[in-house]
Each structure stands twice: as C-alpha cells, then as structure tokens.
C-alpha cells in the first residue's frame, strides 16, 4: 500500500467515524437521555481523553525531555491561574524553547 493510499484510507475512516457519531444521534434520537451512568460518562470522557493524550506523550514531543517537562510545568501553572488557551499554549512553547536553547 502506498503512503497516499494509506493516508486517504485513514482519512476516510477518521472523517467517516467522526461524522457518524455526530450524525446518527441527530437523525435517530429525539428523546432525552436520562441514564445517569451514560450522562456522567459523556460528561467525563473529554477530560479523560485529553489527560491520557497529554500525559506522558507531551514529554516526548520535543527532543529534550527536560525542555518538554519545563513546558508542561509552565502550561500547568498558567492554566491553574486560568490564563486563556492561547496564553497557556504560547507559554508552554516559549519556556520549552528557552530551556532547549540553554541546554
């Protein structure tokens, strides 16, 4: 399988699955979900996914683990004090970049 064919197949899968999870409930379900477990699960899942995607993967996103860790800590501190999405992102990148220059 060539790279382009593999990519296009994956693209079709990604777009198809993502469309179906959005489209099917909108077309098929018109009544309210009352199941407490399901409601809770849907509420928690975004936080669980983003956490599992970030930790520990972020540490391997730049060649230096120390620089990545510094970026993680900087991002955490900025987020803790509720800075905007953009500021947290720029802060994490900038700190990692500076540490990388020093090392």
């Amino acid at each position: 399988m060539t790279d382009t064919v593999y990519f296009l197949t994956c693209l079709a899968i990604m777009a198809g699955v993502t469309y179906l999870v959005r489209m099917l409930p909108m077309v098929l379900i018109r009544r309210k979900i009352t199941n407490k477990f399901l409601k809770s699960f849907f509420y928690y899942i975004p936080y669980a996914v983003l956490s599992a995607m970030t930790i520990p993967a972020m540490l391997y996103a730049v060649p230096s683990k120390i620089a990545a860790a510094a970026g993680l800590v900087a991002g955490f501190i900025l987020a803790f004090f509720e800075r905007s999405l953009l500021i947290v992102a720029i802060g994490a990148c900038a700190v990692a970049f500076i540490i990388q220059l020093i090392l």
Partner: protein, 241 residues
C-alpha cells in the same frame, strides 16, 4: 408577513455569525497548532488541510495524525475516533432536541458535521434552534479551523526544526488549558484527570507498553477513568454541559 419572516431570518443570520465569530477566532490558534503538529509528524500541507476540512475536531485529529504517522492499524483509528469523539453524540442529541420545525431531515444530515464542543456550547444556550441560525453559526468556525490549519502547516514547513518541535507543544498546552481550570473547581473532574494520567503512565512505563499501542492506550485509559468515576461519582442532574 413575508417581510416579517425575511426580517426574522436576517436577525438569525446576524446572531449566528456573531456567536460564531469568537469561536472562529479561537479555532484559528488551535488549528494553527494542529497544522504545525501535523507537519512536524511528516504530513504535507494539503494532507493537514484536508484532515481539518473533513474532521473538525482537535483531539480526534491529533490522535489520528499520531496514529497515521506510526502506520497504525485501521481498527485502531476507528476505535480512537469512536472513543475520543463519542461525546459529540451526546451534544448532537441535546442540539437535536432544541431544533425547531424549520430543520428538515437534510439539515440534520448536513448540520451534524459541525457539532463541536464550542458550537454545541453556543447552540445549546438557545431555547430553539432554527436552520438559518445554525447555518450562520457554523460558517466562521469552519473557515477559522481550515485557515488556521493551512497557516500553521505552511509556517511549520519553513521554520527551523527546533522552533517547530517546540511549537508542537502548543496543542498540548491548549489541552492543559482545557483540563486544569475545571479540575481545579470540580473534585470529580480532578479525579478523572488524575486517574487517566496515572493509567496512561502505567501503560507507558511498564511492560504493558509492549502489548498496547499509543492509540489503544488512550482509549483504554479514557474509558476506564470516565467509567470508574461515572460509577462511583455520577454527575448531578443539571451538570451535563
């Protein structure tokens, strides 16, 4: 009467565009980070752009790009998209219940493409959602998402590698910005976050990582963490945003 209807429609277009503008601007930066990330993973600009134009989901796209770069199996891509994007199902149901009579079946097929966390948040604030409002609402976010990806991918292609790899942290920074404030305020959310991180590290740093790929790891950790907290600490009735 037809004049009145036309006027009403015009207001709904304006309201939709107005609600969509801040979302579109926000998406510019998130998708910029995605564009940079994709290029750093070895994707061509057109590939990054076409992913954004057909998926419109940050976490799903990031997982997808990571998996494709690692030549993952198709089943991994199916399952990761399913788990990561399953929350849209609940949002679609919520939005669906507020749609008024102007929404035809064809609108449901078309408008569901654009259900994201932010568009859901804007739409669900309304008592009833018309086709006109919804179409106007999704315009600017879609343009912002595509444009940002293109600019990010294009810049990632000519900036020095050391800068690009640091900019690749931007998308993780944004995830941290999404996770931390609610975790600080809500102990249950904090438990979900800590449990998911602990599970993810356990898989990564034990021999389990030989058997479980990164894609499956995200799925397993997220499902276990969310299901555990749903069982022992379900959310209260009015807390389902």
């Amino acid at each position: 009467m037809s004049n009145f209807k036309a006027l009403l429609k015009k207001t709904e277009v304006q309201e939709g565009l107005k609600d969509g503008l801040p979302i579109g601007l926000g998406y510019l930066s998130v998708s910029f980070a995605f564009g940079i990330f994709a290029v750093e993973q070895g994707f061509a600009i057109w590939k990054a752009l076409i992913i954004s134009m057909t998926n419109l989901t940050s976490a799903g796209q990031l997982a997808g790009v990571t998996l494709i770069a690692a030549s993952a199996a198709f089943i991994e891509i199916v399952l990761s998209q399913l788990v990561i994007n399953l929350r849209y199902s609940l949002m679609s149901i919520t939005v669906s219940q507020k749609m008024d009579k102007s929404i035809k079946m064809s609108d449901r097929f078309f408008l569901s493409v654009f259900i994201t966390d932010e568009i859901f948040a804007a739409a669900s604030r309304r008592d009833s959602i018309s086709a006109t409002y919804m179409r106007a609402l999704v315009c600017l976010p879609y343009i912002g998402w595509s444009t940002g990806t293109f600019i990010g991918a294009a810049m990632g292609s000519f900036l020095p590698a050391s800068v690009v790899s640091c900019l690749g942290l931007a998308i993780y920074g944004m995830f941290i910005a999404i996770i931390v404030p609610p975790a600080k305020k809500n102990k249950k959310v904090m438990c979900v976050v800590l449990l998911a991180c602990a599970l993810s590290c356990t898989i990564k740093y034990t021999p389990l990582s030989k058997w479980i790929s990164d894609g499956f790891s995200i799925i397993i950790c997220a499902v276990i963490a969310a299901a555990t907290l749903s069982l022992i600490a379900p959310v209260e009735e009015d807390n389902n945003d």
